[in-house]
Symmetry: C2
Subunit: 307 residues, 2 copies
């Protein structure tokens, strides 16, 4: 028997369309509904045959659904939750897939009726591609899916969390339950700061007068190339993430900048021992990641690479 | 006929031992000599059968050689050049493989006799591994090799540059001739700054009190993981590179920090348009790199990855 009777996905970009593909591959629902605010995307979703029903509004999409997944741009999640609130069926689970969770948790708390189960979520998966054509069913396979349940301990709510966990597991994901605030801090370090730094360094390189853009590209194998891949991620999504997770991002960014200034000073004064000590320490952390088996490539990175 | 009669490589780590393997695979010399200051490394080079002769001193190694390759830690290149200067045969080419070229060019100019041909060099290739066992013949295949000829225009010198270029080409490398100062600036952007940033972010993450190291590792797929790979590079080599290329590194680091502060301010004040504009621009640069075919993985990255 399918985990859900009727599932709606609002927002059919890379993540939303991958979610639909994964759900269909797992036979997770009896009926699939999708909505996207873009007419073009709705047409692509129809042409790709991703769902049974494509609706023109978000409210129509969620009607009678027992699972509603908000996969819009992060900044729109709160507003869409407000739009659909009155149309939700009692007992529906409402989740999302965005990278900042406290803001979503707050928005859900503010606008959703008590009759539904709000469970903010975040799969640690993605590629540098966007749009419904970029999605694929295996995107979440062998990746973490973090769920951030709200502070409700009633049995129906816990059962809803359990059901949603099983859905992610049917995609091949490993589920981790986490407090929304802690999620935002962990992701600020492991994802948001790396993206910010990557965007920044690519911008700095492009602005140099003495080094041409073609030279930067030509010799990018020395380390820069890895940053350009990260800095090619969806601009709108990341704009939203930094603004929604502002506090945690600025906190870790402040520490990063402080550390970088100390490093800069060590270089200026030729403090070789200090540099070597830091570099030896970071190497040990890498060994921990490789040993823990966390070194699998992003699913589509292999595809984009030649050779 | 072999390109060189007798080739000596001083320093048999990842790059030196790969150079020897590539040279032998290409049949580039009639006789191969190696020296490393470490007794253990010399024994490994003997055991691996990498050369015809392993010597106990650098001076012995270079005797009667027409090609001498300094593949020691970057900071030692100048000192080793001084050691071998009096033992070099007239007409020998002396090159190196370090990441900072102006310092090497200056050292060569200061200590080498006029009878030899100094040609600082730098292959844009490497892995996160170190030592003679980590080397492999294909390391330089389809990678750039930058040569930074000194300001000599006599025919024998130009012929020596040409011969060394052909050697790198026989390894599958593409050769680029570049002024040493310009090399240092280009590499400061494309390689040294990325490494510095990666070392720094991994250090910052490890120091956070509220996020455990195991959480950082667990959720590193969100972007952080790519940094840890770069931050696992040889600590001694990178310590030397930052100190030897101090001026260019501090120059680009200063610009990077300035840009990062502007970005930080845009996040604090919620300047969504400014963020989106930068992120859209960096995405375009990535497309240029992919289109230019500069997106091949580091040779050993594939090996270290599961799946």
């Amino acid at each position: 028997m399918a985990l859900y009777r009727r599932m709606a996905v609002i927002g059919c970009g890379l993540i939303g369309s991958s979610f639909l593909r994964a759900a269909k591959a797992a036979g997770a629902a009896d009926h699939y509904v999708a909505h996207d605010r873009s007419v073009e995307v709705r047409e692509r979703v129809r042409a790709l045959g991703l769902v049974d029903t494509v609706t023109d509004t978000a409210q129509e999409a969620v009607k009678d659904c027992d699972l509603v997944v908000l996969a819009t741009a992060p900044a729109a999640i709160g507003a869409v939750a407000g739009q659909i609130a009155s149309a939700l069926a009692p007992g529906a689970t409402v989740t999302d897939v965005g990278s900042a969770k406290q803001a979503v948790s707050d928005a859900f708390g503010a606008v959703l009726p008590d009759t539904v189960f709000p469970i903010p979520g975040h799969p640690i998966a993605g590629t540098e591609q966007s749009g419904p054509d970029a999605g694929f069913a295996e995107l979440f396979n062998e990746r973490w899916a973090i769920l951030c349940p709200v502070s409700r301990k009633d049995a129906p709510y816990l059962a809803a969390v359990d059901r949603l966990s099983r859905l992610w597991e049917s995609f091949g994901s490993q589920v981790e339950l986490m407090d929304a605030h802690h999620h935002d801090l962990v992701l600020a370090v492991t994802s948001h700061l790396p993206h910010l730094i990557a965007y920044n360094i690519v911008g700095t390189a492009a602005d140099l007068e003495e080094v041409t853009e073609s030279e930067v590209m030509k010799f990018s194998a020395g380390g820069f190339r890895d940053f350009t891949r990260i800095a090619a991620s969806d601009p709108v999504m990341w704009r939203d993430v930094f603004i929604l997770n502002k506090d945690a991002v600025l906190e870790v960014l402040g520490r990063f900048t402080e550390d970088l200034q100390a490093l800069s000073r060590a270089i200026r004064w030729g403090e070789a021992d200090k540099l070597e000590a830091l570099f030896t320490r970071t190497r040990a952390i890498r060994k921990g990641i490789v040993a823990a088996g966390q070194d699998a490539p992003e699913p589509n990175f292999g595809r984009n690479r030649k050779g």
